[in-house]
Amino acid sequence: MNGKKRSWTGVIAVSVAVALSLTACAPGAGSAPAESSGPVSKDVAGAGDVTLTVWDQNTDEGITDAQEKLNAAFSAKYPNVKIDRVTQSFADLKTTLKLALSGDNPPDVVQANQGYPDMGAFVQGGLIRSLNDYDGLYDWSSYYPESLLKINSFSADGKTWQGDNLYGISQTGEVVGIYYNKKILTQLGVEAPTSLDELEKDMAAAKAAGILPMAYGDIEKSPGIHLFGVVQAAIAGSDAVNKLVTGADGAWTDDASVTAAKTIQDWSSKGYITEGANGVSRDDALAQFEAGQSAFYIVGTWKQAAISEAMGDDAGFTTLIPKGADSPVTTGGEGLAWAVTTGSKHPDVAAAYIDFINNADAAKTFIDENSLPSVIPADYTPKPGLESDVFDTYGKVTSSGGLVPYLDYSTPTFYDTLTSAVQQLTDKQVTPEAFTEILQKDYSGFVGSK
């Protein structure tokens, strides 16, 4: 009995010693690999046999086919390079990428989500390298519009988003907007809305005619970001929202955000959006819209292929112009950024690879697969119908600076804070004022600590 006890104290003592030696200093210290700062080159063929490990989340049909084609073309061009593609869903990538990057053997190329929670944390941890030197070689700055480059940029310490260092480039464009059912709008005798007032009038007409104005399902919590983002952008305008999300200026309790919250709660009270949306899945709501049971549905351009297939010429896409502005302002940006890790032993090959899969030829591959590229080739005329709506809107929004970032980029915890607050807002658990205070509490804590 006594011996048993003694050996246990021994075990505990040894394990404490082991654990302490493992964690002698603060967690995370000394784990980041040193950034290589040697000269950069475009030379791929001379790099010898290279296996490039690539982590992406291009799982959607069409996009994954485009990615496979591009990978095959790159290997055909450079037979000495073998691409080891690891692909997983966005949610899985978000949870596993941090662990992979901080391990001893990180992938060479990864798709990093923009904003503070992901890209900011990676830059801060020294896990992805600045691409400024490769930008000099491949001249991405003149290919991409300024607004898209900014989204993929951070300060060198990772603390200021849209800083001086470019950390990635993106393949696809994204705009969140309002899909509408042309048949229903014609039946109601209204035009596609281009402002918040028009949208509300159209929704009132639909409600009066016994048609659900807007299908909305929020059980997954993320659609709340799109709903609030679209309304807030149409009220506050692009400058105010950009400054707010980047932490430059403003507060979530500002009038525009309170009005946006009031508007959404009002829609919920009037039955403009699906009742009990917190228990309805995003896919069910979309199915409702596609079946012609609602006039509107808010989602991003990444659903273009699916909606077009389900509804054909009956579907349209629009974005809202704020009062006093002359071009639309809405949530959007670009697909995840293709970044090169600091741990990569072949940064030259990695940079050549991301250039190859993001350049103008790659954009054509994406269009062939019914997806919106981040930069639409100047000589391309979109097919009439939904594709033309989507491509034109994207062109208008990006060229006029009407793009506002996804609101969850604001702070590392903002995704949780915002999505759960929107659920409370639509279910009238909180007043619009209290809703904005919840957001501001998270925001001021983060901005204050920077």
């Binding site: 050996s7 040894v14 603060a26 949870t95 801060q124 929020d218 997954e220 228990g279 309805v280 658990q429």
Partner: protein
């Protein structure tokens, strides 16, 4: 420490000298140690070290990537002060009622009925059906209930069919019903387990006892409280331990059905720990939640263990 001294004394033993009795015992204990060494190494590497590491992380403010900053016990203070974390522990308290107390009460009631109907036909069939939820993967269970609770799901359809339209609602999306709805899945899940445990316990009671009670004119209720319940004390303890622990570490049901929503109304500590560690970059806070949860489970299990009758085992 004692392990290393023992090793050293073994090495310095003069060659050829007859080992004293004490030394022989030490050698024997060293041998014993070698036998358990593989298992010990395994649990050291995969259980004890990670546990201690988690405790260590919980004292830091860390996003999982950059260098952490010392936070002391701030993460633990936050568990009490942060409304979201505090609520998650409250929610799990509610879930204990649904995962543990309710199933045990229902299973006892069923035991009382079933044990009196000795020759119930097809008993083994019903027992299998009731135990089935325990065998099905929890992801399948959660997905099934997601469909049952959906706006046009089985539950609402049933309510409409019997004219209770006013009661229909989006069960998992309603702030008032989401937690209870998740809890009820746990009740459904655990009744079978408890019932099978209790029935096997009743099977061990000598039939003469029941016969004697009946000859003395005991009612069903008296029989239950006089014989069945005391005989089941051991099984009830086991059922309590299993179900309370399963409720405290609930993750899968919440992850699949609600992701903690609507708002935070169904968030639980295990979900918060996962979400903070892997999604929102609050590794220190996640670790502190995990530590508190572990200690809570250990304490509660020890308390329940005290109910175990001393004579058995």
């Amino acid at each position: 420490m004692t392990v290393t001294t023992r090793l050293r004394s073994g090495e310095t033993r003069p060659a050829g000298a007859a080992p004293s009795r004490a030394r022989r015992r030490r050698v024997a204990s060293l041998k014993a140690f070698l036998y358990v060494a593989p298992a010990l190494a395994f649990s050291l590497i995969f259980l004890i070290v990670p546990t201690l590491q988690t405790a260590w992380y919980s004292l830091y403010d860390w996003n999982g990537l950059s260098v952490a900053t010392w936070a002391g016990v701030q993460n633990y203070i936050d568990i009490v002060q942060d409304e979201q974390l505090r609520d998650s522990f409250m929610h799990v308290g509610v879930l204990v009622v649904f995962y543990s107390f309710l199933p045990i009460a229902i299973a006892l009631l069923l035991t009382m009925v079933i044990s009196r109907a000795h020759a119930l036909r097809g008993m083994s069939f019903f027992r299998t059906v009731l135990f089935l939820p325990q065998v099905i993967a929890s992801v399948v269970i959660a997905t099934t209930w997601l469909s049952i609770y959906s706006p046009n799901g089985l539950l609402n359809t049933l309510l409409r069919a019997i004219g209770l339209d006013s009661l229909t609602r989006v069960w998992l999306g309603d702030f008032n019903t989401a937690l209870v709805s998740v809890g009820f899945v746990g009740t459904w899940l655990n009744v079978g387990l408890c019932l099978v445990l209790f029935l096997s316990g009743v099977g061990n009671v000598q039939p003469e006892l029941f016969e004697a009670a009946r000859l003395d004119g005991a009612s069903g209720l008296q029989e239950f409280f006089g014989i069945t319940l005391p005989a089941l004390r051991g099984q009830i303890t086991v059922a309590l331990t299993l179900t309370v622990v399963s409720s405290l570490k609930t993750f899968d049901l919440v992850y699949i059905t609600t992701r903690g929503g609507p708002g935070n109304s169904t968030s639980v500590p295990a979900f918060e720990a996962y979400n903070r560690a892997f999604n929102s970059g609050q590794v220190g806070s996640a670790a502190s939640v995990a530590v508190v949860l572990t200690i809570g489970i250990l304490l509660i299990t020890a308390l329940i263990g005290r109910l175990q009758p001393k004579d058995t085992e």
